[in-house]
């Protein structure tokens, strides 16, 4: 009896969480003009229209370039920062670590406004580069957390053994540390990409005029009307942001298994 109640309750929670998402996916295949029930038939029509909508395609391209660059920069910085924090005795290590993680703790709106005011103060105009830097700032903590956790688990013995065998510190890093770190680096990259791809708050504040990412494009479209195209776009977004990390996780696991953990 008690267990059944818990089961029903759990089911309801999941329904509450995922039903709206399911509705969006379902409606994106609706043949009707209007993006709402009742369904009048099954169709890929909105996906086709989506693929022909230049504004959306441009936004998509921007998002992907932005996400990819964010991932690469964030991961590079994150790996270097983690190495410094975990492997070397940096003065003020705890403070630096806290500062690097802080963007997670600060509400994104506050961070967004702060950066904007700061740029204003420096009399720098908004640009794609600054948007990119904004994304790097708030994806960096995730990369650092993931990479640090893995790095702590990699015993120093490995690096010391490599050094004793004649590898220079740089060679030891690329031969030993980086391959052992690869699953975390990969996961961090995916994190950064997905977070950047998904972000709207910061992007709205930072994006220069005329540049739209997918989320800001959806937002702009919603202001005019609720087109079924948005449902289709939502579906594509869901598959990208859910599917990509899952795929990544699977690859990372495989890599970890092959390398013997």
């Amino acid at each position: 009896m008690g267990w059944n109640l818990i089961r029903i309750y759990t089911l309801l929670v999941y329904l509450f969480m995922f039903l709206p998402v399911a509705v969006v996916v379902l409606l994106s295949f609706n043949a009707s003009q209007f993006g709402s029930f009742p369904m009048t038939g099954f169709s890929f029509r909105w996906f086709v229209e989506l693929a022909q909508n230049e504004a959306i395609l441009r936004a998509f391209q921007t998002s992907i370039v932005l996400g990819a660059l964010t991932a690469v920069i964030s991961t590079t910085l994150g790996v270097l920062a983690s190495l410094a924090l975990v492997r070397y005795e940096v003065p003020g290590r705890n403070l630096i670590s806290t500062l690097l993680i802080a963007p997670i703790l600060v509400p994104e709106v506050v961070l967004a406004v702060a950066l904007l005011l700061f740029l204003n103060f420096l009399a720098i105009n908004k640009s794609f580069f600054l948007l990119l830097m904004g994304h790097v700032i708030f994806t960096l903590p995730f990369v650092i957390l993931v990479v640090q956790a893995r790095l702590v688990g990699i015993r120093r013995d490995y690096e010391e053994a490599a050094l004793s065998l004649g590898a220079s510190p740089v060679q030891a890093f690329f031969q030993i540390t980086l391959p052992l770190l690869a699953p975390a680096v990969f996961a961090g990259m995916l994190f950064a990409f997905t977070i950047s791809f998904d972000d709207i708050t910061g992007t709205l504040f930072w994006k220069p005029g005329g540049v739209e990412t997918v989320p800001t494009q959806i937002f702009a479209m919603l202001r005019n009307s609720i087109s079924p195209e948005i449902n289709a776009l939502g579906t594509v977004m869901i598959f990208l942001t859910v599917g990509l990390p899952l795929l990544g996780l699977a690859i990372a696991r495989r890599m970890a298994m092959q390398r013997g953990g």
Binding site: A161, L163, L165, S168, G260
Partner: protein
Amino acid sequence: MSAVTLTNIVKKFGGFTAVHRMSMDIPDGSFVTLLGPSGCGKTTTLRMIAGLIDPSEGDITIKGQRINDVPIHKRNLGLVFQNYALFPHKTIAENVAFGLKYRDISKADAEKKVKDALELVQLPHVSDRYPKQLSGGQQQRIALARAIVIEPDVLLLDEPLSALDANLREDMRVELKRIQHRIGITTVFVTHDQSEALAMSDRIVVMSNGRVEQIGSPEEVYNTPASEFVSRFLGISNILPATCKEVNGSGLALELADFGRVTVPKERAPNVGEAGPAQLVIRAEKLLLADKTAPLDDRIALDGVVEAVDYQGQAARYFVRVGGHQLQAVNMIDQRPFQEGTAVSVRFRPRDCAALPGAAA
């Protein structure tokens, strides 16, 4: 020639001094063990020789060259760790060949060297496997092969046996000694296990609290401990407060309660030079328990009572009361061990004893 010399090495970590003014010579081709409890500075010393830690003061030379400022990857050392530290993402062959990549060696030569090294450690058939697929003992052999394949000037072993289980540890001990002997490589071995140190070393450096307590052959440190610490750390010793009455040609005449006068040979008491407070050291296995009726020999006989027995199979460890002293004796068991409460005759030869300077607590 000395392969490694340390001269007045000091290592401080903040306010804590891990190694105090340590000096030692490690002869070419010898097997030297740094022995001591955890925190005595033995691993710190090894890591300074390896170049993983910089000494705060003093000089380290390898083959006559001062290497304080030479980074670890240019020192040409073989290092073996407690946890093997085999690269998990590389095969056994790649692991062993790792150090050869950084030396001018042709591919064919490298392959031959890897093969020879794997044969030396008696694991020629595992080259394509990954470290995870090997047992602990096998992994440690591979780690050893990886360290010696580069023909290092010195082999540094940091508690290499302590992660293995007891039976395997003894096999590996023999194996390690065999390999060291065969290639004649200068070896510095760090351990807290006295039996490993006694079994394997040419010389033992006993350390405590960052200081060298004694340097000597296994027999020297066992039979003629230079300090109370050494005699307590190696084996089981009875250390009894005594007074040195006189030093003469035949030895040191010590007097102590319930024992009377015991004359210890001079060479067993290098640190006691004159009359005054001293300590008598009797190894537990040199203290023989006998029936009260057993015929006397050249041993001194005292009356005692067995207070506790720790049965160990072929031997037994007894706690015996002799007057005001509680003594420990480890004897082989002839027929049956003595039982608790038995009155026994406690016997020892004065020439088996050693003496230390006095002021026992």
